[in-house]
C-alpha cells in the first residue's frame, strides 16, 4: 500500500513537472516572432449577440481556424455572449487579465474614452501600419479619425450603417388579421389606436414592448434626434445641430416620451414587469409574447429581425436617421490589454476587413450546411431549415468587420450594401462629428450620474414610473450627482475641438 502511494506521488509530481516545462516552452517559442518554427497562437474573439449561442459554433470555429492558420498561423476561439450578459461581462473582461485577442467595443455597454484613459486597450496605431495596411485603406481615414484619441488608434470601427433612425416593428400577420392600416402612423401618439385593437382582439399577447431592463429604451430615440456626445449625459439637441450641450432628460422630447410610455402602461398596452425583463425583443417575438417593439433602424433592419424571429414584421419609422461620432466609434474591434499577442490580433483584423470567405463563414456558417448560395451572391436557409431550427443563425454582420463583403440573404434587397453606403452618405450628420469626449476628469460625477440613471431611467422608459410624481426628483438627483459638471466639461472640450478644426 505504502509503495503504491509513493509511486502515485512520484507520478503526479512527474506529470506536473512535464506540464510546467511544456508551458514554459510554449511561452518562449511564441515570443520569438517570425521564426519558421513559430508556435500556433490562439486568438479569442468576444462579442455580443442577440440570439442564443448557435449549436454549431465549434464547427464554424474549426473552419475559421483553418483559414487563420494557413494565413497567419493562428487558431480562432469564438466567445459570443448574450446582450444582457455582455453588459455585465464586458467591463470585467476589460478589467481582468484574461487573454482575449479581439473584443467588440459596443457603446454604451463599454465606454471608449474610459477604456482608453485607463489603459484597458492596446494602442494599435503602429501595429496597424505594420501588419494591417489593408485594413487602414479599406476603412478609410474619415472613419478612423473618429476613433483617434490624441492621434492614436485604439480600435478599428466595423463597417456598417453609420447612422441610426428610430421606429417600431409590428407583426404583419396580426396587422393583416385585424386589417390595421399603418401607413398613417407618423408619431407615437398614432400607435394608441393600433394597440387598442390588439389588446381587445388578442388578449394573450401584449401589444407593446419598449425595451426592458437590458438597455435604456429611450437611447434609441435619443440617438436619432440628438448627438449623445458619447454617454448621453449632456447632448446636442436638434439632430446635433445646436452648439450648446444640454441635459437630455430635461428636454420636452424626453418628457413627451416617458409620458406616452407611462400612459401605455396604465392602459395595459405594455408587457407586464417590462422594467425588470432582461430578454431582447427578438426573444419575446419568438416566444409569442409581444405584438410590437421599439428599435433602431437601418437599411435591411426588418429583414434582419425577420430572420432572427422567424416572423413577418412591418416597420414604421418614427424618426429620420442621424449620424454622429458615437455611431462610428460605437462599434469597434479593440485589442484588450490582456491580449498575449497583439500583433496577431491585428493580423486577424486583415481577415475581418478584407477576406470575404472568412467573413461569410463567421456570419453565416458553412456553405451547404447552414446556408445555400443562390443568385446575386444572395443566400438562403437550406431546405427544411427555419430560423428557429438552424444550427448556426445569428445576425452579426454589422459588427463582424467589413459587412460590405458579406453575402446578403435572399430576403434582403440585392442592393442592400449599396443602399447602406448611400444611407451613410445621405444621413444628416451631427455638427460634432469626429469629436470624442474624454471623461477622465469627471469620473466621480459619471459614476454618480450612472447610478441615478440606472435607478430611474429603466423605470421611466418602460412606463413603470409615473413621470408626474417622480420626474422632478430624477432631475434633482441628477443635479446633485453632478450632471452639470459633466455638461460644463463637455462644453469646454467641444468648444476647444471646434476651435482646433
Amino acid at each position: 500500500m505504502k509503495k503504491w502511494k509513493r509511486f502515485l506521488a512520484a507520478a503526479v509530481a512527474g506529470a506536473m513537472l512535464l506540464a510546467m516545462t511544456a508551458c514554459g516552452g510554449k511561452e518562449t517559442d511564441s515570443k520569438d516572432e517570425g521564426g519558421n518554427g513559430e508556435e500556433t497562437v490562439n486568438i479569442t474573439m468576444t462579442f455580443p449577440i442577440l440570439n442564443a449561442v448557435p449549436q454549431d459554433l465549434d464547427k464554424v470555429e474549426a473552419k475559421l481556424s483553418e483559414i487563420a492558420k494557413e494565413k497567419y498561423n493562428c487558431t480562432i476561439t469564438l466567445q459570443p455572449l448574450g446582450f444582457a450578459d455582455y453588459v455585465s461581462q464586458a467591463p470585467l473582461i476589460l478589467a481582468g487579465s484574461e487573454d482575449i485577442g479581439l473584443m467588440i467595443h459596443f457603446d454604451p455597454i463599454t465606454n471608449y474614452s474610459s477604456m482608453v484613459s485607463s489603459g484597458q486597450v492596446n494602442d494599435i496605431t503602429e501595429l496597424l501600419e505594420e501588419h494591417a495596411k489593408d485594413v487602414i485603406d479599406t476603412v478609410g481615414e474619415e472613419y478612423l479619425s473618429a476613433c483617434r484619441v490624441d492621434g492614436k488608434l485604439y480600435g478599428v470601427p466595423t463597417m456598417h450603417d453609420l447612422a441610426t433612425g428610430y421606429g417600431v416593428v409590428m407583426r404583419t400577420d396580426l396587422l393583416e388579421k385585424h386589417k390595421i392600416d399603418v401607413s398613417n402612423i407618423k408619431t407615437m401618439d398614432d400607435l394608441d389606436a393600433v394597440f387598442q385593437v390588439i389588446q381587445e382582439k388578442e388578449p394573450d399577447i401584449s401589444p407593446m414592448f419598449t425595451g426592458g431592463a437590458a438597455m435604456n429604451p429611450a437611447d434609441a430615440i435619443m440617438k436619432s434626434t440628438a448627438d449623445t456626445l458619447g454617454d448621453g449625459y449632456g447632448v446636442l439637441m436638434d439632430n446635433g445641430q445646436e452648439d450648446t450641450v444640454k441635459n437630455y432628460f430635461e428636454s420636452d422630447e424626453y418628457r413627451a416620451y416617458v409620458d406616452k410610455v407611462y400612459s401605455w402602461n396604465q392602459k395595459g398596452y405594455l408587457l407586464p414587469d417590462s422594467d425588470s425583463i432582461q430578454d431582447t425583443y427578438s426573444t419575446l417575438f419568438r416566444a409569442n409574447k409581444i405584438f410590437a417593439a421599439f428599435m433602431t433602424t437601418k437599411p435591411g433592419q426588418v429583414e434582419q429581425d425577420e430572420r432572427n424571429t422567424g416572423l413577418d414584421l412591418t416597420l414604421v419609422e418614427l424618426a429620420e436617421p442621424l449620424s454622429m461620432t458615437t455611431l462610428v466609434n460605437g462599434i469597434q474591434w479593440v485589442v484588450p490589454i490582456g491580449a498575449s499577442h497583439p500583433e496577431k490580433s491585428v493580423e486577424i483584423l486583415n481577415l475581418l476587413y478584407t477576406d470575404a470567405e472568412f467573413l461569410n463563414l463567421l456570419n453565416y456558417g458553412i456553405e451547404g450546411e447552414h446556408y445555400v448560395l443562390g443568385e446575386n451572391n444572395q443566400i438562403s436557409l437550406p431546405e427544411g431549415v427555419t430560423a428557429d431550427t438552424s444550427a448556426f443563425n445569428w445576425s452579426i454582420a454589422y459588427q463582424s468587420g467589413n459587412e460590405f463583403l458579406c453575402y446578403t440573404w435572399d430576403s434582403d434587397d440585392p442592393e442592400l450594401w449599396k443602399q447602406t453606403e448611400q444611407y451613410n452618405e445621405e444621413a444628416e450628420k451631427s455638427s460634432a462629428m469626429g469629436f470624442t469626449f474624454d471623461n477622465s476628469k469627471v469620473a466621480n460625477e459619471i459614476t454618480a450620474v450612472t447610478n441615478v440613471c440606472s435607478q430611474y431611467r429603466v423605470g421611466f422608459e418602460n412606463g413603470a414610473l409615473d413621470p408626474a410624481k417622480n420626474m422632478e426628483q430624477f432631475l434633482a438627483d441628477l443635479k446633485t450627482a453632478g450632471i452639470d459638471t459633466i455638461i460644463a466639461e463637455k462644453q469646454a472640450q467641444l468648444d476647444e475641438w471646434k476651435k482646433a478644426r
Partner: protein
C-alpha cells in the same frame, strides 16, 4: 499540524491584502498596478459625493441589523422547537427541511420569488384577485421590500444558523430540565432561565461575528431577488449593489477597491468596539 491552515490563510487572506494599494491609485492597465499613479483619497470621493452614500449606508446597516436581530431570534426559536421534538425520525426530517433553502442559489431563489410576486402571473396576485382585491405591482412598490427581503432572508438562512444553536442546546445536561420540571417550572420558564442563559456564549459569538459583516450585504439577495429594478433602489440599494452598478459601467477598479476598503475598515472597527463592550460587561463572553 497548523502549517496547512496557516498557509491557507497566508495565501488566501494575507497576500491579497497587498492589493489594497489599488484603492489609492489611478489604475492604468498599461502601466500595471505598481507603476500606476497615486491619487490619495480621490477614489473614495465618489462614495460620499452624493446623498446616495447616506441611503446605501442606511440600507446596508438597517437590513443587517434586522437580519441579526430577527434572524438570530428566529434561528434560536427553530432550534428550541426542533430540540423539543419527541419523535426522532421527524426531528431529522424537520432539520433537513429547514436546512434545504440555504443550499439553493440566490439566482434560483430570485426566480422562486418572481413566481410569487410577478404582476400578471404571480401566486400572490392571483390569490389577491381570487379574494376580489386588486393585484399589486410588487416590483414597483419600494415600501413592501424591506418585509419581502427579510422574509426571503429568514426562509433561506434561519435553517442553517439554527444548526449552531441546536448543537449547543443538545450539549446542555438534561439534569437541569429534570430538576426544573420537578420544581414545577413551565416550558417557557425552562427556556427563559435554563436554555437561553446556557447558550448565551454561542449567541454572543454569532452576533459579534455578524456585526463584523454589518457593512457587507448579501449581493445575491439585493441584486437578484429584486431583479435589479430601478424603482426599488430607494429601499434596496446597498453598498455592494451600488458599487457593482456604478463600476460595471465604468470598469474603474480603483473605485471598487476603495469601496471594499471602506467596508472592511468599518467592519473591523465594529468588531473591535462590540467585543470591547462585551468584555466590559462580562469578560468570559468576549471573543478575545
Amino acid at each position: 499540524m497548523m502549517v496547512p491552515g496557516f498557509l491557507y490563510f497566508i495565501i488566501n487572506n494575507y497576500i491579497p491584502m497587498a492589493g489594497l494599494v489599488i484603492a489609492f491609485k489611478n489604475v492604468n492597465f498599461a502601466k500595471g498596478i505598481w507603476a500606476s499613479d497615486w491619487v490619495g483619497l480621490k477614489n473614495f470621493e465618489f462614495l460620499f459625493a452624493t446623498k446616495d452614500a447616506w441611503v446605501i449606508t442606511r440600507n446596508t446597516i438597517l437590513y443587517n441589523l434586522a437580519f441579526i436581530v430577527i434572524g438570530t431570534s428566529f434561528a434560536i426559536l427553530i432550534a428550541i422547537l426542533i430540540c423539543d421534538m419527541r419523535n426522532k425520525k421527524f426531528t431529522k426530517l424537520a432539520q433537513n427541511i429547514v436546512i434545504l433553502p440555504s443550499l439553493i442559489s440566490m439566482v434560483v431563489v430570485a426566480v422562486l420569488a418572481y413566481a410569487f410576486l410577478s404582476t400578471d402571473a404571480g401566486v400572490i396576485n392571483k390569490l389577491l384577485e381570487a379574494l376580489g382585491m386588486e393585484g399589486v405591482n410588487w416590483y414597483n412598490t419600494p415600501g413592501a421590500w424591506p418585509f419581502i427581503l427579510v422574509l426571503v432572508y429568514l426562509w433561506k438562512n434561519a435553517g442553517f444558523q439554527c444548526v449552531l444553536f441546536i448543537a449547543s442546546i443538545v450539549g446542555i445536561s438534561n439534569d437541569y430540565f429534570e430538576a426544573a420540571r420537578i420544581d414545577g417550572a413551565t416550558k417557557w420558564q425552562q427556556i427563559r432561565y435554563i436554555t437561553l442563559p446556557l447558550i448565551k456564549p454561542t449567541i454572543i459569538m454569532v452576533v459579534v461575528l455578524a456585526l463584523g459583516k454589518i457593512f457587507y450585504s448579501d449581493f445575491g439577495l439585493f441584486y437578484q431577488v429584486t431583479r435589479d429594478t430601478g424603482a426599488l433602489y430607494s429601499t434596496t440599494n446597498t453598498i455592494d449593489t451600488y458599487v457593482f452598478r456604478g463600476l460595471t459601467k465604468l470598469g474603474n477598479v480603483g473605485m471598487s477597491s476603495a469601496a471594499g476598503f471602506y467596508q472592511s475598515i468599518v467592519g473591523f472597527v465594529l468588531v473591535l468596539v462590540s467585543n470591547l463592550a462585551i468584555r466590559r460587561s462580562n469578560k468570559e463572553n468576549a471573543l478575545f
